[in-house]
């Protein structure tokens, strides 16, 4: 192998040096924002590379060829360029911009690479003579409310002014003020904390105001924010919090809670009192002693550990609920629903997505369509109005399904069963109470654990009916296959051929017992002993 010799490039060295100087000057606030320029204009590199190839083609009359190394290089370039673009536009970019880093004891703000801003802090205190609700207004910045002294409202404001010139930034910061004072009269009186952003609206200032407000620990607080996060912790009293486009969090509070957040995530942790949430964003609720109501759309809702009732409305996303002591109501069309560990009942309306319900102490009442649902360990009765679903039940107290085009599979049902469906199969096993199944155009397979006192009735139109009974079972049967045949495994209980393709069977086995009625219009009927299906499977 021959080593290729490259001549050191003077131009290349100068280019790299020049680039370093530009970035260095930028770090001292001199010159344009090269990172932002690179973030926006990096695809020009791809265009230039492509143009270079085309020029090569015409100059050298060679076919346009792309080498493996070039493909890797271009992919690498696209990856790096995309990452820079995303970083400058995203929340990560914002965090990065505001991140303080200390290098050699000197604070360096990487954010200056993306644009110049100056931060100023100020603190004000206002005395309170009597317990007064506190109202906080802000926009384009965060609001954090925490407990402070009983006799005062303390406000810490962080002003971030986006301005190249530091002295001008300082002037603007001096104009940005936080104002505090009583508003309203008599009983409606409250203490208002707000910035003077409205008064500065006519001026072309770009700034953010982050407020940290310390209020008496037992007080009513109302926050109206937009384009900024809201966080409240460790307070006792009624809270009404509104924001948009950013996070909202309440944790470790006692009182009554009303929260509204559009286009931002919301989180509620360890609250005592009723909670009402109006959201258009992801919602997480955890450890609440009180009733919870959540209204959302298009975003996931996750709720855990509620000692109270729960009502959730959502659409086109998902709802996840775990451990709720009192009744739960979920209306979530087009959403995936996962529910577990309920101390009371569940009422559910949903469609088109997967549903999983488990461990419910009371009954489940559901209206479902076009979905696949699994319900396990339901102590009470499962009452389902269904359209074109695939329903699976395991360990259910009782079952009532009124359906169209729905397939039903159930095992271990301890109470009465009543199922009506069309076009799809019904398969029931290990039940021990009365059972009534009607399925038009679908097969019916029944395999009771024991025969109880209740009647077993299966009626089909075009599908077959198969009934598997314990070998020693005592029962009374009436079976009609008007256009089909009947097969029986029970000695002394043989079907009569009432005509061509028409079978009937009636009689008692042993001393008789629960009544069994099987009726099929066009399908066959099989009366089998339990275990015969396994034997058949083995022989097959």
């Amino acid at each position: 192998m021959r080593d290729r010799q490259y001549r050191p490039s003077l131009i290349g060295g100068l280019l790299w040096t020049g680039l370093g100087v530009i970035f260095l000057l930028r770090n001292f606030g001199i010159g344009p924002d090269v990172w932002s320029l690179a973030a926006r204009y990096w695809p020009i590199l791809l265009i230039l590379l492509g143009l270079g190839k085309v020029i090569d083609y015409y100059r050298q009359k060679e076919g346009i060829s792309v080498r493996f190394g070039e493909i890797i290089g271009i992919l690498f370039l696209v990856l790096i360029g995309t990452l820079i673009t995303k970083a400058t536009q995203s929340h990560v970019g914002r965090v990065f911009r505001e991140l303080p880093i200390s290098i050699g004891g000197t604070p360096v703000r990487p954010g200056e690479w993306f644009g110049t801003s100056y931060t100023y802090r100020e603190e004000k205190s206002y005395a309170l003579t009597a317990p007064t609700p506190v109202r906080i207004e802000n926009s384009y910045g965060s609001v954090v409310v925490t407990p402070g002294s009983d006799q005062e409202v303390k406000v810490r404001i962080r002003k971030v002014v986006y301005q190249n010139d530091e002295s001008r930034a300082k002037q603007i910061a001096a104009e940005i003020q936080v104002e505090g004072g009583p508003e309203g009269q008599a009983e409606a009186a409250s203490f208002l904390v707000k910035t003077n952003r409205e008064a500065l609206a006519s001026k072309d200032y770009r700034f953010n105001t982050d407020l940290e407000v310390l209020v008496p620990p037992k007080t009513e607080v109302k926050v109206e924010n937009s384009f900024g996060e809201v966080r409240v912790a460790n307070l006792e009293g009624k809270l009404e919090l509104n924001t948009t486009h950013n996070e909202l969090e309440i944790r470790d509070c006692t009182g009554e809670f009303n929260a509204s957040n559009h286009y931002g995530d919301s989180r509620f942790v360890n609250l005592t009192g009723n909670l009402t949430v109006d959201a258009r964003g992801r919602v997480a609720v955890e450890t609440i002693k009180g009733n919870v109501t959540v209204t959302d759309e298009f975003h996931p809702v996750e709720i855990r550990d509620v000692d109270g009732t729960l009502t959730v409305t959502n659409t086109e996303s998902s709802v996840s609920v775990e451990k709720v002591t009192k009744p739960v109501v979920i209306d979530a069309r087009g959403s995936q629903v996962t529910v577990s560990n309920l101390g009371s009942s569940l009422k559910l309306a949903t469609s088109h997505r997967r549903v999983q319900v488990s461990d419910v102490e009371s009954g489940v009442d559901a209206e479902t369509s076009y979905l696949s649902a699994t319900l396990k360990n339901i102590k009470g009765k499962a009452t389902i109005r269904s359209n074109s679903d695939r329903l699976t039940f395991e360990d259910v107290g009782a079952l009532d399904v009124k359906a169209q085009g729905t397939a039903v599979t159930a095992s271990n049902v301890n109470g009465p069963i009543d199922i009506e469906t069309t076009m799809r199969d019904v398969d029931l096993s290990n039940f021990n109470a009365a059972c009534k199944v009607v399925s038009q155009f679908g097969d019916i397979t029944l395999s009771p654990r024991t025969l109880g006192k209740g009647e077993i009735s299966a009626k089909g139109r075009n599908g077959a009916i198969e009934l598997y009974l314990p070998e020693g079972a005592a029962f009374e049967i009436q079976a009609n296959a008007r256009n089909g045949r009947i097969v029986s495994d029970f000695a002394g209980l043989l079907p009569a051929e009432a005509g061509p393709d028409m079978g009937t069977l009636s009689g008692k086995v042993k001393s008789g017992g629960p009544k069994i009625v099987l009726d099929s219009e066009y399908g066959n009927i099989q009366l089998r002993t339990r275990g015969s299906e396994k034997a058949e499977n083995r022989s097959n």
Binding site: Y6, S9, I11, G12, L15, W16, G18, L19, I22, G31, P32, D33, V34, S36, L37, A38, R40, Y41, I44, L45, L48, L49, R67, G69, E70, G73, L77, T88, Q89, G93, F114, G115, T116, S117, Y140, Y162, N164, R206, N208, F227, T244, H245, H262, Y263, R280, E297, F298, T315, E316, R333, G334, S351, H352, S369, Y370, S388, G405, T422, M423, R424
Partner: protein, 287 residues
Amino acid sequence: MRKALWSLPAILLLLPFAGCDFEERVPAEVVSITKSQPLGAEKELQADIRFDVGSLEVAAEKGALAYTVDLDYDKASYQDVITYDQSGGTGRLNFRLESLHKLGLRSDRHPNRLRLGLTNTLPVKLAINTGVGDARLSLTGLQLSSLDIESGVGGARISSYEPNQVSCDRIRIRNGVGSLDAVGLANLRFNDLEFEGGVGGANLDFTGEWQRDAEIKIQVGVGGVSVKMPRGIGVKVEGQKNFLSGFHLDGFTMRDSFYYSEGYDDAKIRVSVRVVTGVGGFKISWI
């Protein structure tokens, strides 16, 4: 490749001087508008929406308002045009978000967002044209009398979970580059539905409450089209396979150059599907 790598610092070096008069990158100045129109003597509503860049949501609005608009956009780059007039019993909402076509790094960019609420008390003729961005059309609860959607680059989702209170004479959906999911289309109670596929794939779910026979025309684009039909509906398909596209019809038999679903002759509701195949595949499955 080595030359290309050397040219990288050169281009980066030139970039700062190429733009000349760039501003510093500062937080986007976001315009946040909430607008609505009380209902008057309108007997129907026509909404014509053009939203070039951003995220769009449409939903039914309860109450005595013809429409509500919740709009955020970047003031440096866009300008809104919202007009509403009412004459002859028809309210006409016209919405545009126009780009100002400014170049340079003026500010940090803020994603545009529009949430449009339309009255659930009047018949609505809805025309939507989206450019770059995602669209969610939650049509449940609307009285939709016609629907025309043209989606550009980005995903679109259309859903209807309850039967439309009025019949929808015509639905036209044109899909662009992104994927399109439509769920519960039968609930819209349409006579004719025309779908034109683009580069992105499409899932058309015709579940819901079928109340009448209907005609569907599907033009498959580069992305495939997957159709879901509820059992019990009689479906007749007219279309031909070509060597480029897959043509998967689950449970159909061919008669007289048409494909018929099982039980078509006895079906209470019959749907005729005319398919023009493209590069992508076409599939019908049952739910």
